[in-house]
Amino acid sequence: MATEALTWTNGNVSARPLVDRLHGWVTTVDHKRLGIMYAAYALLFLLVGGIEAAVMRIQLVAANLTFVSPQVFNRLFTMHGTTMIFFVTMPLLFGFANYLVPLMIGARDMAFPRLNAVSFWLTAFGGLLLYFSVVGANGLYGAGNAPDVGWFAYAPLTSPTFSRGHSTDYWTLALLVSGFGSVGTAINLIATILCLRCRGMTLGRMPLFVWLILVMAGLVILAISPLTAAQIMLLVDRYLGGHFFDTQAGGSATIWMHFFWIFGHPEVYVLVLPAFGFASEIIPVFSRKAIFGYPAMVAATVCIGFIGMSVWAHHMFTVGMSSNANVFFVLSTMAIAVPTGIKIFNWLATMWGGTIELATPMLFCVAFLFQFLVAGLTGVMMSAAPFDWQLGNSYFVVAHFHYVIVGGILFTTFGAVYYWFPKVSGRMLGETLGRVHFWLFVIGFHLTFDFMHIPGLLGMPRRIYTYEADRGWRVWNLIVTIGVVFQAAAVLVFLFNLYRSYRSGPPAGSDPWDAWTLEWTTSSPPPDYNYAVLPVVKSRRPLWDIKHPEDPDWRYE
C-alpha cells in the first residue's frame, strides 16, 4: 500500500454555478460535507452564544448597572447555555466525528449516509426553532419571547402558570428535534465503527479517537433519550393539561430534576470524550511517540462511560436528598476522577522523553492538560456534599463547568481545528496567527475563569442580573469581564485565520504533520470516495509501518 497511490482522480474539477454547488451541499449525504456543515453551523452559533455571554458580562462589569433588564438577562443565560451545549459543542464534535471516523477506520462513508443527512438537518432546524422563539413566541400579550427558564428549566417554572406564551415550548421542541438528530448520529456512528472497519483494523487497533467516539455515541443513546422522554412529559403538561410536574395535583418538581440530570451529567462526558480523543491523537504526533498505555486508555474510557451514568444527582445535593443517596453520589462522583486521572497520566507519559514540537495544535493540548486538571480538582472539591451545600448555585460552580467546557473541550477543539484543517481544506492554517489566537485565548480564559471562582467563594449566586456595590464582588467581576475582551479578540483572530488560510494558505499535502493514522494516507481534501483501494492495516499506526518498513509497529503490538 503506497501512500500516494490511493487516489486515482485529481480534485481539480472545473467550478460549477453557485446554485448547483448550493444544491450539492443541501442534498449531500457525504460524511465529509456533512461534517463540514456541522462545524460551520456550530461556529455560527458559537458567535451567537459568545455575544450573549459578552452582553451578560457587560451587565455584570460593575454594580447596579442597567445595561439589560432582568427579564432580558434571564433570556440571555437561558439561550447562552442551551446554545452552547446543544448547538455549538455537540454539533462541533459530531462534525469532527462525522468527518474523521470513516477516514480513520478506512471506510468510504458512514453506515447510513441518508440517516446522517437527516440527523444533521434535524439538529440544524432545532437550532433555528430555538431562535425563532425570538419572533414566534409572543403568544400572549405581555408574555416574554425567548426562553427564560434557565438551561435546565426546573419545574414548576416551566408550568403554564409561570411560563406564559410559547417561549418554553420553543425550548422544548428545539431540544426534542435536535435530540432526535443526535440519537440518529449516535446510531450511525456505532454501526459505522462496529461494521465498516477496513481489513486488519481490529477493535484493539482503532485510533483512540474512534474508541472515544464509540463510547460517546453509546452515552448519547443512553443520555439523550431520557431528555427526550422528559421533554415529551413537559409537552403533555403544557399542551394537554397533564400533571407530571404539577405539584398542585400531586406531581413532583424533583423528578424533573432527576430526569434532566440523568441526561445532563452524562452529557458532560458526551462532550468531553471527543475532546479526550483529540488530545489522544495530537499529543503523540507532536511528541513523536506512540500513545502511552493504549489498553489503559480504552479501559479508562469505557469506565468513564459506565460511571458517568451514575453520578447525576451530584447536581442535586442542595435540593436535599436522603443521606444514603448523598453518600452514593459523593462516592461515584469521586470515583470518576480515577479513570480521568489515568488518562492525564497517560498523556503526560506520552510526552515524557518525547521530542516535543510546540506547533499550535500541541499548544492547545498542553494548555488543555493543565486546565482540565484544575477543572477536575474543583470537580472533586464539589463532589463532597457539604462543600457543595456551601457553594452550589454560586459562581464557583459556573467557573468550574466553564473550566471543563472552555478550558478542556474548547481548547482541544481549537487544537483539533488546527490539526485537521489541512486535511479538510488542503491548506495549512497560519501558524503565526495561530499563536496569537492561542495566547490571546489563554490570557482571556484565565482572566475570566480563574477569577470567576473568587466571587463564588465570596457568596455571589449565579444568574443574578446585578448586585450591590458593598458586597466585595466588584473588582472580581471587572477582571472577569476584561478577560472576555481577550477571548473575543482571540476568536476573531481565529475566524480571520480560517478565512485567510482557506483562501491563500500554503498547500498542505496529504500528510503535513508526519502523522500515523489512516486519514493522512489520502489526499487533502480527500476524494468523495475517500479511498480508491480500501486500506489494510497491521498495527495501530499504519502510516508508521509504511514509512518505516524496516521497523514496523506490528512486530511489537
Binding site: V183, C195, L196, I221, S225, M233, H243
Partner: protein, 181 residues
C-alpha cells in the same frame, strides 16, 4: 455484523431508555393522585389484546423465515396475519380508552393516574402504530411484487423492532395492570 442490525439494536437501546423514564414516572406516581378515579376502580386487564399482540411476534417470526426460504405466498400470509393482530391490539386499546374517557370520565387531565396512564400506554400504542405503518409499507411493496427473497435481512431487522414493541408491552402490562393496580 450487519449495519442494519446494529443500528436497530442501538435504536432499541434508545427506546428502552425512553420507556424506562416513563415506567419510572408511572411507578413513582402510583397512588399519588390527589383525586379519583383510581386504577383499581376503572382498569380492566386487556387479556385479549395482549394475546393478539404477543402472538403477532410468532407470526412475524414465521413470516421472515418463509421470506428467507423464498416461499413468498406463505410469507405474505403470515405478514398479513401480523398486521391484523397488531391492528386488533390497537382496536382493543381504542375501545378501552373510549370506555375510560366516555364512561368513567378519566382523561389525561383528570389526575396523576390519568396523566401517567395515557402517557405510558399511549407512547406504546404510538410505537405499535409506527410498526404497523412499516409492516403495511412492506406488504404494499410485496403486493406490487418488489419484495424478493434477498431482502429478507431487512424484514428481519423490522421484525426486531416489532419484537421490541411486544417486549415493551409485557413490561407496560405488568406495571400498569398488575403491579400498580
Amino acid at each position: 455484523m450487519r449495519p442494519g442490525r446494529v443500528g436497530m439494536w442501538c435504536l432499541i437501546a434508545a427506546e428502552t431508555a425512553v420507556f424506562t423514564i416513563f415506567v419510572v414516572a408511572y411507578l413513582f406516581y402510583a397512588g399519588q393522585s390527589v383525586g379519583g378515579p383510581m386504577p383499581a376502580d376503572v382498569l380492566h386487564t386487556p387479556i385479549f389484546a395482549t394475546v393478539c399482540l404477543l402472538s403477532s411476534s410468532v407470526t412475524i417470526h414465521l413470516a421472515v423465515q418463509w421470506w428467507r426460504r423464498g416461499a413468498m405466498s406463505a410469507f405474505a400470509g403470515w405478514w398479513l396475519a401480523t398486521i391484523v393482530l397488531g391492528a386488533m391490539f390497537l382496536a382493543g386499546t381504542a375501545i378501552e380508552w373510549r370506555g375510560l374517557i366516555h364512561d368513567k370520565g378519566l382523561t389525561i387531565q383528570t389526575n396523576l393516574f390519568g396523566t401517567t396512564y395515557y402517557a405510558l400506554v399511549g407512547l406504546h400504542a404510538f410505537h405499535v402504530t409506527v410498526g404497523l405503518a412499516c409492516l403495511s409499507l412492506v406488504s404494499t411493496l410485496a403486493f406490487l411484487g418488489h419484495v424478493k427473497p434477498e431482502h429478507a435481512e431487512r424484514g428481519d431487522v423490522l421484525s426486531l423492532y416489532w419484537h421490541f414493541v411486544d417486549g415493551v408491552w409485557v413490561v407496560v402490562f405488568m406495571v400498569v395492570y398488575v403491579i400498580a393496580r
